[in-house]
């Protein structure tokens, strides 16, 4: 069966696309939805009605690798290991050195280290000539993968093998939002990190492994916010222009430049949600506050983004942000329906020096008195 990949912009209803596919699948069919974050799993589970849930499961990517790839066929590589649970590590540096053999992949209680799990999964697939896939084919008719931008490195090897199986696969995600990644220490496929994952999918589509569509319509925000979001990532990737299809209007729509000394007044007048790159000691007005990464998945009327110096540089010169910063900023800028405020020092001065692309887009906001 075909593998379908849909890379879609923020607010285009990716998770609902999965939920509705699950609801509409053939009643006898068995399905599995995979996503990286716990929130994503709860999100899908909550949108699938109880009736279908007996034939549907939702699990995390790591659980999938442990339960369906590694554990059933582990004796092909290591004997006598009762793989279970997960030892979550951010990167290899958190694993004690000088562990070899099975201990390279597992802690002493046989829990796999998350950062090395996909390497092990890949090896097991190779050692068993993809036996885990034959097993999966007998269990599931449909496999849904949400938030695919979180996969990287050896995960992509596993993903490609899964896409080549006879299971009906639907993959979705937004390469522009890859703020998390399953394997930070994984050096394989590093050229496809972040937004460059789109290139990996384009290559697979050309090879006939999957059908790739890029969905560019967002119901979440207005055209001005869409325009801003399109300027974040490298134009060389030739991602299609986002269509901001949200048509609601208010007294304060679009993208604004706000001087950081005016932040209190701005918050008082428009009640935005504040978004920042990371936790800092800076005193902030009373408001809802998120970091870029954790704001993923939320939708608000207005946000105010506390800019970093690369973001300010980008506003002045369009110098590209580093991949990870770009993803974080993209997530932040696409959380809101009506307005994005970019909080900068000396906003008034900056507003006259903006790069040509931003001149028409970004308006200076100043307190009314």
């Amino acid at each position: 069966m075909a593998s379908e990949v849909q890379l879609a912009v923020a607010g285009s209803g990716k998770t609902s696309a999965i939920a509705s596919r699950i609801e509409n699948q053939f009643p006898e069919a068995a399905s599995l939805a995979l996503t990286f974050t716990k929130n994503g799993q709860l999100e899908i589970a909550s949108r699938v009605s109880n009736i279908t849930s007996s034939r549907h499961e939702t699990m995390g990517w790591y659980s999938f690798l442990v339960n369906h790839i590694v554990r059933p066929y582990l004796p092909a590589k290591f004997d006598g290991i009762n793989a279970h649970g997960l030892n979550f590590v951010d990167h290899d540096g958190q694993i004690p050195r000088n562990r070899s053999g099975w201990k390279y992949y597992f802690d002493d209680s046989h829990q796999p280290y998350s950062s090395r799990l996909s390497v092990l999964a890949k090896q097991i697939l190779e050692l068993t000539t993809d036996a885990p896939l034959r097993r999966l084919e007998a269990i599931y008719d449909h496999l849904y993968i949400d938030e695919v931008q979180d996969l990287g490195g050896n995960d992509l090897v596993v993903l490609e093998k899964v896409m080549r199986s006879s299971i009906d696969i639907f993959v979705t995600g937004d390469v522009r939002q890859s703020v998390l990644t399953t394997s930070r220490s994984d050096r394989l496929n590093s050229v496809y990190r972040g937004v460059n994952l789109v290139t990996w999918f384009r290559e697979r589509a050309t090879a006939g492994i999957c059908d790739l569509t890029l969905a560019e319509t967002s119901q979440r925000f207005n055209p001005a916010i869409a325009r801003l979001s399109d300027l974040v990532h490298d134009p060389a990737l030739a991602l299609p222009a986002t269509l901001g299809a949200f048509s609601g209007t208010s007294d304060h729509d679009g993208v604004f430049l706000v001087d950081d000394t005016h932040l209190d007044e701005y918050v008082q007048e428009w009640q935005p949600t504040l978004l920042r790159a990371m936790v800092s000691t800076r005193a902030l007005p009373e408001a809802e506050i998120f970091n870029f990464g954790t704001s993923k998945g939320i939708t608000r009327d207005r946000v105010a983004i506390l800019t970093t110096s690369p973001i300010r540089k980008w506003l002045l010169s369009r110098e590209l942000l580093a991949a990870k910063s770009a993803a974080g900023f993209y997530v932040a800028a696409t959380r809101c329906r009506y307005s994005v405020a970019l909080v900068v020092p000396q906003a008034k001065k900056m507003s006259t020096h903006l790069h040509a692309e931003f001149c028409a887009l970004v308006q200076l906001w100043e307190p009314s008195n």
Binding site: N67, R71, P72, Y73, A83, R135, A138
Partner: protein, 532 residues
Amino acid sequence: MISHLLVTGYRSLKNFTFEPNEKLNILIGDNDAGKSTVLEVLTLALSGRINGRWAADELNPHWFNHDVVNDFFEKLEAGDVPDAPEILIEIYFSIGTIGAERLRGINNSLSKDVPGLSLHVKPDPDHAAELAQYFSEEDVPRLIPTELYVVEWRDFSNGKVTRQPAGLGHTVIDASSSSSSSGVDYKLRQLLKDFVTPPESAQISLAYRRARASITDNALKGVDERISKEGGAFGVGLQMDQSSSSHWATSVTPHIENVPFALLGQGRQVMTRVALAMSRNSDRNLFVLVEEPENHLSHANLQSLISQIAELAGDRQIFITTHSSFVLNRLGFDHLYLMGERGPRGLNTALVTADTISYFQRQSGYDTLRLAIAAKAVVVEGPSDEMIFNKAYETLNGIEPRAAGIDVISLGTRGKRALELAHALNKKVAVLRDNDGKEPEHWKAAAAPYLEAGRREMFIGAVADGITLEPQIITFNSDQLLRLTLGLEAGENVLDHMTKNKTESAWRINTSEKEFGWPPYIVEAIEFIDGI
């Protein structure tokens, strides 16, 4: 379907493999050959339970194979440090078994990539030190300290299993132990639950809860009020049990024509169990285990039970243990498995014609089972042949054939079918028959496909010595000896008398203290069957 069963160290199954048939498996064998144990291990690995209770709760030292345990303690006493005995039961399903997909993997001792379940009884790693300490003590009784053991129930994907996997249900039909007083035991309750569809069950549950609530609100309320009025009860009141353990199935009993289950005769009880287990709604009962259906059943009931099983089997895989040739013949003896030390041996079905199977299905009294179980068999035509052979054997060897592991069976079918069956079972068998006026070579040629020198041979007297047993005996004994033995009057003809009173004459010879001469074909048969 179960394609392979592997057991090590459990009771009599020391090192046991069984590759059952997809549909019907009839397990036969002597008492204590481990037939019921096979059903027991199937239940254990399929459900994690035994007699309705969790394996871990029932685990006891007698689960362990006697030889293995003795061996272990002997090594221990000799100063070795042997590995502690373990029990492993593995059930391998064929690929494509519906409901077993998730159980697939290579975590099994054959490293096969198939679905399966395993039950492993092994030393508890958390108590390793205590176990070592226990075994190092002086004068340890030769018993395994099972409180230091764990029971691990896993599938071949190495996932822990906590309940019987849906779709792989099994049911046990066991006439020999209907223990509980209501007759409704755990197994029957399970059957009742399966008999009812889930929506029906939900409805019954609701009504049952309401009924109990109404008793609490009405009848019990008055009682409560009286108690509290009389004082001194410290707030104690009474309510119907609404906990989940009071499932409706515990208060429901099947009945037939308004006779409740417990009051049915045991025969009807068994029939009811089979009907429940194999009803259409119980299609989750993929495996049906029947233990000695002939127990407690009249012949007529057994007959209808057997046709019921054959009819309702559908796609289920059935395992039956039996001591009855009738059961074996009716269900088709091509499905038989003879219990052996390392596992049951099947019949080489390629060697049995469909004609013979159907012949025995009709001749259901034919003692196929005895032939199958015997270590060595001598097949004779009738009771007089049997008595004469036994007497000859005893006179020549000083012991009865039975004591030498030889079963003398009168099958009265001129030997050919018995030879075919013995061929398929690869049994050592001697067939003795009358020549009926034709030379022995004629009969041997007719049975040639089933004969094999040293394994299966036919023994027939020469035509010149008499065409049946009686003239043969007359040829090799003096007239006077026979007259005396048979107590004949002077005018009576020995041959006439013996032919008219075959069994009586044979019995007189059999019980006589005198010395007789034996026809050479009988002596040859004895020499053959005594050989290895």
